[in-house]
């Protein structure tokens, strides 16, 4: 560590430049992971707020909530308990005079079941009457207020916002919660035998043998949300590539420095300084660079997070951040392996010749 620190202190410009690169790479990785986590969260906020363990869908819906319908007959056969609730989902455009149109997901609930009962309004109150709705907090940031009258799509019926609620997003769209009767108006079916889109269960073992329905675990259901897996995979690739880039940057930098310092290392080896001591110097330098770069990146990320507008889905998962930090440190150590190997193989005879 002695040599590592002394060299860094002596060669401030070089090491500041490489640390700046690591800062930028780690900053980019942290922001991307925050966006990945934020977007993933906006896909699944509502599902998680319902404490979903399993979902019952129409067997032929291709694990897609918007394609699924459950008939009244099927619903009756499922024998729901307090841990299950039927939901009706419809994609809508929310309109209100003097307000921007907002694409949203309408979720129809049975007010006697657990999701409606547990719905907490962060401001205002839960819906009680047929023309009342509770909407996601995002509407508030878009200028909507309690008491505002809204319409869905081109329908003429008006509904009143009576409350705002947090963590109410599905597939990145804000949710409008209301009674199931509204959903039935939004998605009219011939004969009106349809009861809802899906049955959400707080227990994993809810799997009634009802013809035409199939139970899915919550993680599987989430993985099949439109675009969810593709989006997460894209972010994972970007983060992975940045990790590799950080490895290459640190490896190239340390390799060039090592090549320049080979005569010095050879002299030290001739004087009897153990090779392991010199190898540890390069590993320590790499660790110092990575840790300093990661701390800088984390600070920039914290500043960015505090300044970023409300609508940007930036959310950090401490476990993921810890894993990324660990991954970057490991990349630094791997990056130092090549120059370390070069040092380990130095022939001290080279300083004398002969």
């Amino acid at each position: 560590m002695y040599l590592a620190l002394k060299e860094i202190r002596h060669e401030k410009l070089r090491y500041t430049l490489i640390t700046a690169m690591i800062v930028l790479i780690s900053y980019l990785i942290f922001i991307l992971s925050g966006l990945a986590n934020g977007l993933a969260s906006e896909n699944t906020q509502a599902i998680e707020s319902w404490h979903t363990k399993s979902v019952l869908l129409n067997r032929n819906a291709n694990v897609n909530l918007s394609q699924s319908t459950i008939t009244k007959k099927q619903l009756a056969a499922t024998n729901l308990t307090k841990s299950q609730a039927i939901v009706g989902q419809a994609a809508v455009v929310v309109k209100s005079s003097n307000r921007e149109k907002e694409s949203a997901q309408f979720i129809g609930l049975d007010k006697n079941q657990y999701i409606a009962k547990n719905l907490v309004a962060s401001s205002g109150r839960p819906f009680r009457k047929q023309h009342e709705v509770v909407v996601d907090q995002q509407f508030k940031s878009e200028g909507y207020k309690i008491g505002d009258k809204i319409k869905f799509n081109s329908a003429s019926s008006q509904y009143t916002i009576v409350g705002f609620t947090k963590n109410a997003k599905l597939n990145i769209a804000p949710i409008v919660y209301g009674q199931m009767a509204i959903w039935k108006k939004l998605r009219p079916f011939p004969g009106s035998q349809v009861a809802g889109s899906a049955i959400i269960s707080k227990t994993a073992d809810f799997a009634p043998a009802v013809k035409g329905l199939k139970q899915y675990s919550s993680p599987y259901f989430i993985s099949k949300l439109p675009g969810y897996s593709a989006q997460n995979t894209t972010f994972a690739f970007m983060i992975g590539f940045l990790m590799v880039i950080s490895l290459v940057v640190i490896a190239v930098f340390l390799y060039i420095l090592t090549i320049q310092a080979l005569p010095t290392y050879a002299v030290l080896r001739a004087q009897g300084i153990p090779g392991a001591k010199l190898v540890s110097t390069i590993i320590n330098q790499s660790l110092i660079l990575m840790v300093a770069g990661i701390i800088g990146g984390a600070l920039l990320t914290a500043i960015t997070a505090s300044l970023i507008p409300f609508g940007v889905p930036l959310s950090f998962n401490p476990v993921m951040l810890s894993l990324i930090t660990l991954g970057l440190v490991v990349m630094g150590i791997i990056g130092a392996a090549l120059p370390a190997r070069k040092i380990a193989k130095i022939d001290p005879v080279s300083v004398i010749g002969g």
């Binding site: 002695y2 040599l3 002394k6 060299e7 202190r9 002596h10 060669e11 005569p263 010095t264 002299v267 030290l268 080896r269 001739a270 004087q271 009897g272 300084i273 153990p274 090779g275 001591k277 001290p348 005879v349 300083v351 004398i352 010749g353 002969g354």
Partner: protein, 226 residues
């Protein structure tokens, strides 16, 4: 007992038709308190001799001993320890770490070999003898060539080795400086009881030597001092 001794040392490079017999039946010894020169032109085998005597390379045959201890069969780690504790090198490249101040060059040695080095008083005396007491807080890049060489000598003496091996220490020095370096090596050998072996092609150092060996085409012979 000689501080350093080579008996019947042979060394070859290459193999088959390209085999070169670089050192041929070398017999050499230097005692503590002696300054011994090895004189020879370029390509005569001087540097190969130095690497074998310094434990950096193993001779093809023959025996090399430091303080009576054979170093032929040492492991890499043992060889490192031998060089660190018993042999000081003064190399043409001056052997200084560019990002360590003069005092830190020695502090670094203390971290690797904490015991047996010169104490503070002895170091002060050595610095005064070498005329570098005002340079302790300078980096090698801030020193002249002569100052760097004297710091390198201090670095070599600091670990208190029995043997100091110097490679062309007077290269590119004018005659006045050659005299100074010759006198300095002579003083260090006598006052500090070291065997100092200087490999050089510079005959201007001969007046200061206790023994002079000539090496020519891989063969070494002891010269009669004038």
């Amino acid at each position: 007992m000689s501080a350093i001794e080579l008996k019947n040392v042979n060394h070859y490079f290459g193999s088959g038709s390209s085999l070169v017999h670089v050192l041929q039946d070398i017999n050499f010894s230097a005692n503590k308190g002696q300054l011994v020169l090895i004189i020879g032109p370029s390509g005569s085998g001087k540097s190969t001799f130095l690497t074998i005597a310094g434990g950096l390379r193993t001779a093809s045959s023959g025996d090399v001993s430091i303080e009576g201890q054979s170093i032929n069969q040492l492991s890499r780690k043992q060889s490192d320890q031998l060089r660190l504790a018993h042999i000081g090198f003064v190399l043409q490249s001056y052997a200084l770490v560019p990002y360590l101040k003069v005092s830190e060059q020695l502090a670094f040695v203390d971290r690797i070999k904490p015991e047996g080095n010169l104490n503070a008083e002895e170091l002060k005396e050595l610095f005064a003898q070498l005329g570098i007491e005002d340079l302790v807080n300078k980096y090698p890049g801030q020193l002249s060539g002569g100052q760097r060489q004297r710091v390198a000598i201090a670095r070599a003496v600091y670990t208190n080795p029995e043997v100091i091996l110097a490679d062309e220490p007077s290269a590119a020095l004018d005659s006045d400086r050659v005299v100074k370096i010759g006198q300095l090596f002579k003083e260090l050998a006598e006052q500090r009881d070291k065997a100092i072996v200087v490999v050089t092609h510079d005959t201007r150092l001969m007046p200061f030597a206790d023994k002079v060996y000539e090496i020519m085409d891989g063969k070494m012979s002891l010269q009669q001092k004038l």
